[in-house]
């Protein structure tokens, strides 16, 4: 593998997103949402203003779990199929570059743009709030940012996989939306439904493991379990064994969610 080729492709994808202000727009969305949530998140209880980092992170997690998968899927779904459909893929592949280098470069460039937006957007909020955050709160907030980046990477990897598997852009976009619905909206409902139908008698033991099959759930557990207040708030502590909630284990699962779709994508693209 020639890293310079990967870097050339990644650099182009990244700078494309900087130049067309994609990075700026997404970062602004994150900043605005995070500020609104931090200051008005408790408005329902009749109070405004920043309250606690736990509540803020819990609210942000609920938002990010919808938003980041969507942004990542939209960002990546046409990575390969778009080049193919426009007709620029053949020229690219006639260059001294392997298909693996191309797909890895595409992924890293887009991932860089998404990570940069995420860190800049939420980082700005951390700066604004810094006067009201102690070291422990900052630590948790950075954990939230890091896991948000991982969540984006995982869904971006899924998107790039779709962009290799789909025959055209229309199908790729349809699959991307379907994937978002499945992981973000349907998956948990299905699990809950199964649990209720069986009266909780079967599958109770494998239920936590099944949650690992959804990167969005992994992200949720990763954030919520590091905060004691939030854990009780969500009532998740009752169903999820602490032994599984090790941050390193969850991070490893997330990395698996990044590597596996990319692996499938490059295997399929190489054929």
């Amino acid at each position: 593998m020639e890293l310079s080729q990967v870097a050339t492709i990644a650099g182009k994808e990244f700078w494309d997103r900087i130049r067309n202000r994609w990075v700026l727009a997404v970062a602004l969305v994150f900043t605005v949402f995070a500020l609104v949530i931090a200051y008005f998140g408790a408005a329902q209880q009749g109070a405004v203003g920043f309250r606690s980092i736990e509540v803020t992170i819990a609210s942000l997690v609920s938002l990010v779990i919808y938003l980041i998968p969507l942004i990542a899927l939209v960002l990546g779904f046409d990575a390969i199929v778009g080049e193919r459909e426009r007709g620029s893929l053949d020229l690219l592949l006639s260059m001294p570059i392997t298909r693996f280098e191309l797909i890895l470069g595409k992924y890293l460039g887009l991932a860089g743009a998404l990570a940069f937006s995420t860190v800049a957007g939420f980082g700005l909020v951390a700066l604004v709030l810094s006067a009201q955050l102690d070291l422990n709160a900052l630590f948790h907030y950075f954990g939230f940012m890091a896991s948000s980046v991982l969540l984006g990477m995982a869904f971006l990897s899924l998107a790039v996989m779709l962009s290799v598997l789909a025959a055209d852009r229309t199908r790729a976009s349809g699959l991307a939306i379907a994937m978002w619905f499945f992981f973000v909206l349907v998956f948990d409902l299905l699990l809950l439904g199964a649990l209720v139908v069986t009266g909780g008698q079967y599958g109770g033991d494998i239920f936590p493991w099944l949650l690992l099959l959804n990167p969005a759930d992994v992200f949720r557990i990763l954030n919520i379990f590091t905060l004691d207040d939030v854990r009780t708030l969500y009532g998740l502590a009752t169903v999820f064994p602490p032994s599984l909630a090790e941050p390193w284990l969850l991070t490893a699962v997330m990395l698996g969610w990044i590597a596996a779709p990319l692996g499938i994508a490059s295997w399929r693209f190489g054929k």
């Binding site: 310079s4 050339t8 426009r86 620029s88 006639s94 260059m95 392997t98």
Partner: protein
């Protein structure tokens, strides 16, 4: 004698830059490319012509290793196109795809810089390349604002990055005006003089016929004919036309002079007489017309065009 010819052919084949042996590409029951054998020599300007769907673009992509062959072997500069050693060969190849698509958001110069990086070519030469294809004035403009012809020129500049030894040009003159087409062939002749091998497809047969060293006519995924334009004309044995202008538009005089010579067709229009004869009667017809002496005001022989040859082979 025969064995010497065969040995010479094999020696030439061994020196071929592009070697295609029994290459096929099947999509289900469709045989897009069907058992093609080709050898293009170093420094040759080689034309590939055929109808849409004849298989030439598929063959092109197979030669570039973009589409894997169902059967057969393709090697460029001795390296199999599907092998791991082909990356090194790619650095020596320039490719201009049909209807080249570049990145709208990049400027002309940025486009060349991007491809130069992928080819490990110093960016310093990019400006000169733009100059060479007549795009120096538009170097800083985005490709989005380029006309079709300008995109084609930029695509050509891209193909010339890093002084390639083998050029694959798929319909390179599409969208170019006549002057640009002439400039394009001037550049191409210069490259051939430097020993660059060029493989070119075109559907404008009149444009290609005077310019290629050899050509292959493809139809239904097969090479139907292969050789110089003249050799193909002779092989097809197509009739040629004599256009004669005689004093007083005397049609009868011409017919009488031809006497019993085998004439395929004879017609008169605009004061001229057009006579179609078989190739072997060419000199006899000349002699017969010479008997008319000074009554012949003008004489012109029309060889069958590449188009005639093409339709002869592909029908």
């Amino acid at each position: 004698m025969e064995s010497t010819i065969q040995a010479a052919a094999e020696a030439a084949n061994a020196d071929a830059v592009v070697r295609v042996r029994g290459a096929s590409k099947h999509y289900g029951t469709v045989r897009a490319v069907d058992g093609v054998d080709l050898a293009v020599q170093r420094g040759e300007l080689f034309g590939l012509i055929g109808h849409n769907g004849a298989g030439k673009s598929t063959l092109f992509k197979m030669m570039l290793g973009l589409i894997p062959a169902t059967a057969g072997e393709i090697a460029i500069d001795g390296a199999p196109v599907t092998g791991s050693g082909f990356r090194a060969v790619r650095r020596k190849i320039g490719y201009l795809p049909e209807n080249v698509v570049l990145y709208d958001n990049l400027t002309g110069l940025e486009t060349l810089h991007f491809f130069a990086k992928l080819k490990s070519v110093p960016a310093a030469g990019c400006g000169a390349l733009l100059e060479r294809v007549g795009l120096a004035h538009a170097a800083g403009r985005r490709v989005r604002e380029y006309s079709k012809g300008m995109r084609q020129r930029l695509g050509f500049a891209q193909a010339l990055l890093g002084r390639p030894q083998i050029l694959f040009l798929d319909e390179p003159t599409t969208g170019l005006d006549p002057e640009a087409i002439r400039e394009f062939y001037v550049i191409l002749r210069g490259l051939r003089a430097e020993g660059v091998t060029v493989i070119i497809t075109s559907h404008i047969l009149a444009e290609i016929q005077e310019r290629v060293d050899r050509l292959a006519i493809m139809a239904s995924g097969k090479v139907q004919a292969l050789g110089t334009v003249q050799a193909l004309r002779e092989e097809m044995d197509l009739p040629l036309w004599f256009d004669v202008r005689v004093a007083d538009s005397d049609f009868t005089a011409v017919r009488d002079a031809l006497g019993s010579l085998p004439v395929a067709a004879i017609e008169a229009h605009d004061g001229r007489v057009a006579v179609q004869v078989r190739r072997e009667s060419k000199m006899a017809v000349f002699a017969a017309l010479a008997t008319l002496g000074e009554r012949v005001l003008d004489l012109h022989v029309r060889e069958p065009s590449l188009e005639d040859v093409f339709f002869g082979f592909s029908d």
